[in-house]
């Protein structure tokens, strides 16, 4: 019986939570009762700080990775990686690289989205102040600027973050290539291994 372990990297999530807390208040989520009941992973589920990420635990007999819904802040989908029993060095390397890239991506986009929205709100507020308007109108709805006025902010945001984006691109392309190459190697090794095993069976005793 294959024993499968799942681990999510909660460290990164906690770091992101601290980052998020610095930037603004965010809703905290409790770990669902379901998850804690089914909790059979080696990684202890931590309440409180890491609660932002859904503590989903896949079924123990599943042999595949699992992908979740988009995260509320980064819009990226988290993946829980399946660790097979006889994991090779190459597979471990691939898995750790993918996990690390996922965390790195999540951190970048969370920061990006939070910063964007904060700056956008600040911009709108400042523009409204200049016009002498309150943030909300008589009906209690938030006032909005038209697209021409917003375009100024969009351009500014892009220009401000030009270098950061360029660096992210370079890193992302590099990681993507490496991961895909590793995936290719792992797939090739698996096929090779399967073929070798089959050849071994054929050569082996036919009476078994």
């Amino acid at each position: 019986m294959a024993r499968c372990q799942y681990r999510g990297n909660t460290k990164e999530w906690r770091r992101n939570d601290r980052l998020a807390k610095r930037n603004g208040p965010l809703p905290m989520r409790r770990i669902s009762a379901n998850a804690s009941r089914r909790c059979s992973s080696s990684q202890p589920t931590k309440q409180g700080n890491s609660a932002k990420r859904s503590q989903f635990i896949p079924a123990a007999d599943s042999k595949h990775d699992w992908i979740g819904p988009p995260h509320s802040l980064s819009n990226l989908r988290p993946i829980i990686y399946h660790i097979p029993e006889n994991e090779t060095e190459l597979e471990k390397q691939l898995r750790t690289l993918r996990q690390e890239t996922e965390d790195w991506n999540h951190a970048f986009w969370t920061n990006q989205n939070i910063t964007f929205n904060k700056e956008k709100d600040a911009f709108i507020l400042s523009q409204l102040k200049e016009k002498g308007l309150t943030e909300r109108d008589e009906k209690g709805r938030k006032r909005a600027l038209n697209s021409e006025e917003m375009a100024v902010f969009y351009k500014h945001f892009l220009d401000e973050n030009c270098i950061r984006h360029a660096n992210y691109n370079k890193d992302w392309y590099r990681r993507n290539f490496t991961i895909t190459l590793l995936m290719g190697r792992v797939a090739f090794h698996n096929i090779w291994r399967t073929l070798a095993e089959r050849r071994g069976w054929k050569k082996g005793s036919p009476t078994t």
Partner: protein, 503 residues
């Protein structure tokens, strides 16, 4: 019309309406009554959800715990739910605000056992809540209390429409989903990462952007057909197929590169790689499986020039346009060249040479690309900015509008070049003038007003303008007669051919 649809398909309501009908005039309604009686006896699990328009708003009849609810859903504006939970599209069920519901006839939900009531169709009148409801508009408004008693896990919250700069309505919350319900819902959305063979064709179609590929193949086919040579169906087919495969490759690699960016933009967040339906390696494998045979086919079965152009196009799109999207606005010009190459490929597939006619057709595509793309990108400025894409519409809005207008007018000029280069007859500039003027007019309005609606109008016009233009060019193609006087191709006004035109 509306009434009859309502009465046939909404089981419970149909029952109550039927009662009235039967009561009044049994003979006339005998036929319909029979069918109505038979309808409700069907297993409720076979009832389908459906929607029917009600002039101003949409109503959805939804099945929830064997009860039917009909609720009005206000038309949704573009929602940017960055700080809110981004839901999987398939799970969206919106609770309407109380303000939007015009007619509140009945507050309580229908009785939970519709089977028992429907079997009593001919005998007794239906129980009171349903019978009091008017046949035309039945709206069950979900109040927080009543909905919680029915099905807590299925109630949803309205994600506040913190939309784009222009439309920032805050839809007032009717009720907020509890934490447990939200957790449970999110847990249900976890999926195993394994390839589902049944879904694979659909996944491949999305990966290859099949509709865009179809348009590209159409432009290549038009290029082939416009070439002044005898039409060879075999070469035509091979050239189209090869171009299609090359386009599939380019699109797949593009999506492979852009996974995190696509995740963050509303337009692209349901792509296969974003959703994890296939792995990146699988996508690259698919791209290679399309690209290698495609380019080989073009090089060997058609001619090397076409093959080279195909390979160049893939390279330009994947290695130049895609990275440049995030570095500089020059990506739009590169993208226009990418769009211009397929008709050139079609022409070279037919003739084997890079004639001026080929470049003219390429020129049409090049010029068309600007009003098309600039108008599209105008309404996506917030997404582009947040995603870090450097587009003219965001960084240089004035230039964006100018360029769109300039190139729309350029289309008129290029149409005149058609007869000059002996590609088409002189009727072509005349018949294409109306559509070219129209798109230029829309581009001018876009230049003047620069708002969402003018951008949208220009974009949608560009979608039909291009196929129409190519079709007109085909019908105005200059007929070809060689020395033996063989096959004349279709043309509206055959003009006397100069001797130089003969092959």
């Amino acid at each position: 019309m509306y009434k009859s649809t309502c009465s046939v398909l909404t089981g419970l309501v149909g029952v109550s309406v039927n009662q009235k009908l039967l009561g009044r005039n049994a003979i006339r309604n005998h036929q319909s009554a029979r069918s109505l009686i038979q309808m409700p006896r069907r297993d409720p699990s076979q009832w389908m959800t459906f929607q029917h328009l009600n002039f101003l708003k949409r109503q959805y009849v939804m099945r929830s715990n064997n009860a039917l609810y009909q609720r009005a859903k206000p038309k949704q504006t573009a929602i940017l739910t960055v700080l809110e939970d981004n839901r999987d599209d398939s799970q969206i069920q919106q609770v309407p605000t109380i303000d939007h519901v015009p007619m509140v006839t009945d507050v309580t939900p229908p009785p939970p056992q519709p089977e028992t009531t429907t079997t009593n169709v001919t005998a007794t009148p239906v129980s009171s809540p349903v019978s009091t409801v008017a046949a035309q508009e039945i709206l069950a408004v979900l109040k927080p209390t009543s909905s919680k008693t029915v099905s807590p896990p299925q109630t949803k919250a309205v994600s506040s429409a913190a939309g784009s700069g222009t439309e920032m309505l805050e839809v007032p919350h009717v009720q907020v989903e509890s934490d447990e319900a939200r957790e449970a819902r999110l847990e249900r959305q976890w999926k195993e990462l394994k390839v589902d063979l049944a879904e694979l064709p659909d996944v491949y179609a999305k990966l290859a952007k099949i509709k865009l590929t179809a348009l590209v193949v159409w432009t290549a086919a038009a290029g082939f057909a416009m070439a002044p040579v005898p039409f060879d169906p075999a070469t035509f087919f091979l050239a189209s197929l090869g171009t299609g495969l090359a386009s599939c490759t380019a699109n797949s690699i593009n999506q492979y590169f852009e996974v995190p960016f696509d995740s963050n933009m509303n337009r692209t967040k349901n792509r296969p790689l974003v959703r994890g339906q296939i792995s990146p390696l699988h996508a690259v494998g698919f791209a290679l499986a399309c690209g290698v045979p495609g380019i080989t086919m073009l090089t060997l079965a058609v001619n090397p020039l076409t093959g080279a152009l195909g390979a160049l196009n893939i390279f330009l799109y994947t290695c130049c346009y895609t990275p440049l999207k995030r570095l500089s606005i020059i990506n739009t010009w590169v993208g226009a060249v990418v769009g211009a190459i397929p008709p050139i490929m079609g022409w070279t597939a037919a003739t084997g040479a890079l004639d001026p006619g080929a470049l003219l057709l390429g020129g049409f595509l090049y010029c068309w690309q600007f009003p098309h793309f600039n108008a599209l990108s105008w309404n996506l400025r917030e997404d582009y900015s947040r995603g870090g894409y450097r587009m003219m519409s965001v960084t240089h809005p004035g230039m964006c509008k100018r360029v769109a207008l300039r190139h729309s007018l350029g289309l008129i000029g290029l149409s005149v070049l058609g007869p000059v280069l002996d590609v088409t007859t002189w009727t072509f500039p005349l018949v294409s003038l109306p559509i070219n003027l129209y798109i230029s007019y829309l581009a001018f309005r876009f230049y003047q007003k620069g708002d969402r609606s003018s951008a949208r109008k220009l974009f949608f016009c560009s979608l039909w303008h291009l196929p129409m233009l190519l079709l007109l060019a085909l019908t105005c193609k200059k007929s070809r007669t060689d020395k033996e006087g063989v096959a004349k191709t279709l043309s509206l006004a055959p003009a006397p051919l100069p001797l130089a035109m003969q092959n």
